[in-house]
């Protein structure tokens, strides 16, 4: 059983007071593809490296299955890692690169070569086995790095932003390949990325981190539909959710010309007078009062159109069907659709109980 459990795992860097990873509690199920996502410096790579054994753990523990691996050296943990810049040995051929860890483990040559050939076949690298990395394209190098990981048949795969060095088109292609490979092999995988699109499309579950603290770990739908705080709400989804700080009066939250009614539970959950109204670009109804704004920028994508509208010092993002006749400078009225509103406390950023 290759589950991964982080219990109150903490890591400090020398000279910095704030921990890089602060008390992480996370459970990864056997065979699950879990994505760690967040802005730079949020601690996602550190978490991965702690699991790999490349970083020490200052507090808390890490378990793989039933084993406590917190103090184990990397080679005893039965993990395999794909580095962001692939870490291919430039003086070794593709075949030697893939088989390197097996050679270190003193596997007999025949068996080693068999395994390498199998991995190469899976990844379409058989004709490149005798080439050196310098003569490979970026996508091929990425596959060699993957090959080196899968040939070890580990309990856990660790991937540290493996797609960030590829161009956009190749990234999309490789994304699906990695996801289907993982499903086929069924190995528990932890995947680190800063790109929320990758996170949403690849992960069974996604863990969002900020400043070393886990914000929310949920399925992509859950993150999208029920972000637990303002940060997650603004991070997931592209273009980002509109987060409008406004006040509450006796009728409800002030939303331009209209009011959004609040339940008693929501009112009592508020810690102060401020409230944040979250509306995704596709959650607006155009017309009917609400927020009054002027269209500033029209982004035409063919299938969709995004309008960036200015209301005072706020910019509201609206999605409209493609090739709609909106022009710069036109006035526009935006009302949030009922049920498409996310409410957050302005002071703490936490989500208010749903209506």
């Amino acid at each position: 059983m290759a589950t991964v459990t982080f219990s109150d795992t903490t890591r400090f860097y020398a000279g910095v007071d704030r921990p890089a990873v602060d008390g992480l509690d996370l459970e990864v199920a056997d065979g699950e593809f879990l994505v760690l996502v967040g802005p730079s410096g949020c601690g996602k790579s550190t978490t991965l490296r702690m699991l790999a054994g490349l970083e020490g753990v200052d507090d808390g523990s890490i378990h793989i299955g039933d084993r406590d691996v917190t103090e184990l050296p990397p080679k005893d943990r039965d993990t395999a890692m794909v580095f962001q810049n692939y870490a291919l040995y430039p003086h070794m051929t593709v075949g030697e690169n893939i088989g390197f860890h097996l050679k270190l483990a003193k596997m007999p040559k025949a068996e080693r070569e068999r395994k390498v050939a199998e991995a190469a076949a899976v990844l379409d690298l058989t004709e490149y086995l005798d080439r050196k990395p310098a003569k490979l394209s970026g996508g091929q190098r990425q596959r060699v790095a993957m090959g080196r990981a899968i040939v070890r048949e580990p309990s856990v795969f660790l991937m540290d932003e493996p797609l960030s060095n590829l161009d956009a088109k190749l990234r999309v292609q490789t994304r699906t390949q990695i996801a289907s490979l993982q499903r086929r092999l069924g190995i528990t995988t932890l995947y680190v990325t800063h790109d929320q699109v990758e996170a949403m499309t690849m992960g069974d579950r996604v863990a969002v981190l900020k400043d070393g603290i886990l914000q929310q770990c949920d399925t992509p739908v859950g993150l999208f539909a029920k972000p637990v705080n303002v940060f997650v709400a603004g991070f997931i989804g592209s273009p980002a959710m509109n987060l409008l700080e406004t006040t509450v009066d006796s009728d409800g939250a002030v939303a331009g010309g209209t009011r959004l009614p609040l339940t008693p539970a929501q009112r009592s959950a508020l810690t102060g007078p401020g409230i944040v109204v979250g509306v995704r670009p596709e959650g607006w109804t155009i017309g009917d009062g609400g927020f009054e704004a002027i269209v500033e920028v029209v982004e035409e994508l063919g299938s969709d159109q995004y309008l960036y509208c200015r209301d005072g010092d706020r910019v509201l993002t609206v999605r409209t069907p493609g090739m709609a006749p909106w022009q710069r400078g036109e006035p526009i009225s935006l009302t949030p659709q009922p049920g498409a509103v996310h409410l957050f406390d302005a002071a703490t950023g936490d989500r208010l109980p749903d209506a």
Partner: protein
Amino acid sequence: MSVTDVEAPPRPSPKPVRKPPRKPRPAPGSKRFSPLRVLGSTIVWLFTAGNILVLYWLLTASFKTPVEIFTKPFDLPYQWFKVGKPFRNFIYAWNNAGFGEAVLTTVVLVGLATVVTVAVSAPCAYALTRLGVRGSGPMTNVVAIGMGVPFQTVIIPLFVVLSKVHLDNEYGLFVLYVALSIPFTVFLMTGFFRSLPDELEEAAALDGASPMRTFFSVMLPLTRGGMITALTLNAIGLWNETLLAIVFLKDQAHFTLSRALFTFYGAASYQSEYGGLIAGVAIVVLPMLVLYLVLARRIITGLTLGAGK
């Protein structure tokens, strides 16, 4: 599936403020205290201590009497200090062994030679790397091979020829020092010139600069680092050069420092003038030490520029 179907997720629980540890834990399994590492570190520290000890010994011994040097090598000097003549050894070396004159001769000779060497080698290196003449590559290799020629292989013909034209003195030595430093300097400078981007020359040409102008105003200043490295390394090498000085300098009044030291060695052991000898060594070594301390980074960068490629 509407928004209200999904369960409200748990919020991130507030974390207690943690106190950072004095030193974060190292990665597990990184053997900080493996026997190999301990052995290696010990050897390194022994060596380092040894080198520092040598310097200490040199500095203190240059103030000591011969008796002190042999019986109390590691103590601080006191004998000459007691008698009120702490610099006696240095004065001896300066006057009796001719180190005073030698300093002047060496400074002028080495200084001029290094400047002329670089003045002659930099344009040559530029020509070989950037002027795109056919055969530049092989020509550079031919010049570089000159670095491998031991000086012993040329002393006889040079000695004979220079004696015939009465240049077997410091003037002939000057020319020799320049000529024999050229292979290394050209080689070093080609490395630096090669690393400059083409666009600079093209931009200068587009601005209307003549090739001569381009060289002097654009390319040369950019290799300033390389030139300083070349000057420094050549200066150190020529300051310490002894073989040619022995062959070509016969008039004691015109000795270089290392030449003077060489002669002094024989005389000093005969007279047991060890204090003066070591003071002489100090006079030869210390200026280079100062130069090294000031320019260490440059020297090392220059050496490793070729190595790092």
